[in-house]
Amino acid sequence: MLKQLRFKNWRSLRDVTIDLSPLTVFIGANSSGKTNIIDGIKFMRDVKLRGLMPLVAEFGYQAIQSREPLDNGIVEFEFLFDSFFDDGGDVSDLLRLKFDEANFPFEYASGLEEGGLQFEAVGAFEELPSRFNPEGELRKQSIATDVNDDTDSFRRRISRWVDVNDELISRYQHRMQFINELFLPTRRLAGREGGSLYLIEPDGRNTLLILEYLKEAYPDVFKKLNEDVQWLLGHVSQVETYRNLNTRDIELLINEGIQKRAPTVSVGTLRAIGILAGLHGLDIPRPRPPRMAYQRSSDFTPEFDVQTPGLVVIEEPDTALNPGVLRKFVELLRGYVENPDGTRPRQIIMTTHNPTFLNYFQPDEVRVVERGEDGYTTVNRVPEFIKENWLDEHTLGDMWLTNLFGGTNF
């Protein structure tokens, strides 16, 4: 599980540490910084997927660095994960970026820390102080470069680093789903359109591909998805995909009642099906990334373990959903998170503006995002006095609207 996020000089998050729960919901006024938190997680994921330089080139430093950055202006992301392995400690993943006058990171460093062992990953263009390398001296014995060290100790370290780093990259690349507020799956997709078969696009454009792949390759998962849709929406008796070989289109078929095909499908229904496709997409095993050449072939694992926790980030999941199904929806999400049979663990991060939706969460699952008068974001838990003094008589959503713990536009 992703336990903690720390951002420094990232957009409005100039110095923010956020503890996460298995189910976390961010609330806050418009422009308070909720999306910057989500984008920060996605940025780290995309660094692992696409590489740092294309991403920085796409954003430009102005969309990355705080306007008035603290200290030396270095942008920091530090994510703390639960222990990856039975014998290990928590894993800290750190990325530091320093920009030059041409707005490009002329220095960067990334590092891992696990169980007291620190690993400096492939270094910087130039010297950059980091927590792992506080003097700013480029390590001559960088793990990735010093292959001439043949001591047992060094070999053990490098082997451990490979394991931890592989697991980390797998989690970013294969176990994170992002669903944004403009998420809207289409009902018909031209067959020539490609896309990931398990990672859902934030706008939902490849939902049909995932559904079709689930149906063909993992019918048990597709059946479970159908059961969830039926339980959540009631009016939907079956979700199907149909591939027309003449036009090469894929179509989403939704039956209502006794196998009567729905001529139209509402936005809320499409979004709910798409969100569930994202959740179930994590049940598809995916290949491990290539291992380093010096590893023994027996180290290869052909398929990634679907029991590894997966992170699903959903902005405004309640959009276009009737308030009458919100309770069921949260129960469904909670079922994945609490995961009683231990087979499909999920961590879910959400944002919402809906007090009715908030009523179905525990106060400890809520983080209140606020933008101060200085323009920078703070993130806090719901204060203890709200739990102790008010929740016996009022709901959490009602208390949000009092503004007693902030997070509103009043």
């Binding site: 008068e373 204060p383 006095f385 709200i386 003094n389 008010w390 008589e393 009022h394 009602d398 208390m399 609207l401 009092t402 503004n403 007693l404 713990f405 902030g406 009043f410």
Partner: protein, 189 residues
């Protein structure tokens, strides 16, 4: 640096009025409304929870912030002033400023020359008149084909000149309270 006024109110619309009046008067301060929870009742909802509201709002205050309770006094509909007395006593106990609008904040709007000019009326003291909100709604309906609760309120607040204290003693007293609050500073010119 100016602080914030945390304003305990029946609902956030009263805070909009105070925010607009302070701005027209040239004060630089952020107004943070704290709304009494619950769906029914007005001033009774505030009075039944006033101790908890004050105690817990104080936990949000920073050094330069101050706390004020603003409520419609409803003198015409609640002649016994039961709720008012309870709120006033709690404010006294917690050493918090209390600003009662004589009947409701709408009496302040009816005393404002900007609002009256827009509605073709003459400003005067409405503190002693019953149901100023209903009167304002009638003016809007007759002159602007609008209703107070559906779009009219926003238009009224936008037209405030901030001179209602000339006619309204209750607004004059309220502004005097706010003027002396440590969190309120004149806007930089």
């Amino acid at each position: 640096m100016s602080g914030k006024i945390y304003l305990i109110v029946e609902d956030e619309t009263d805070a909009d009025a105070v925010r607009a009046l302070l701005k027209r008067k040239g004060f630089s301060v952020s107004v943070v409304p704290i709304r009494a929870p619950g769906k029914t009742g007005g001033v009774s909802r505030v009075s039944s929870q006033i101790d908890k509201l004050i105690t817990d709002t104080k936990k949000r205050l920073s050094a330069n912030d101050c706390l004020v309770v603003l409520c419609d006094a409803d003198v015409h509909t609640d002649p016994q002033q039961t709720h008012q007395k309870k709120i006033a006593a709690a404010c006294k106990k917690h050493k918090v400023k209390y600003i009662p609008a004589h009947d409701s904040v709408e009496s302040w709007f009816l005393a404002d020359s900007g609002v009256c000019e827009w509605l073709g009326k003459k400003p005067k003291n409405w503190d002693e008149q019953a149901k100023p909100k209903e009167e304002l709604d009638r003016w809007l309906k007759d002159n602007k084909k609008s209703r107070y609760e559906s779009g009219g309120r926003q238009q009224v607040i936008q037209r405030l000149k901030g001179d209602g204290d000339i006619h309204s003693p209750s607004l004059r007293a309220a502004l005097k309270h706010l003027d002396s609050a440590p969190c309120v500073r004149p806007s930089p010119t």
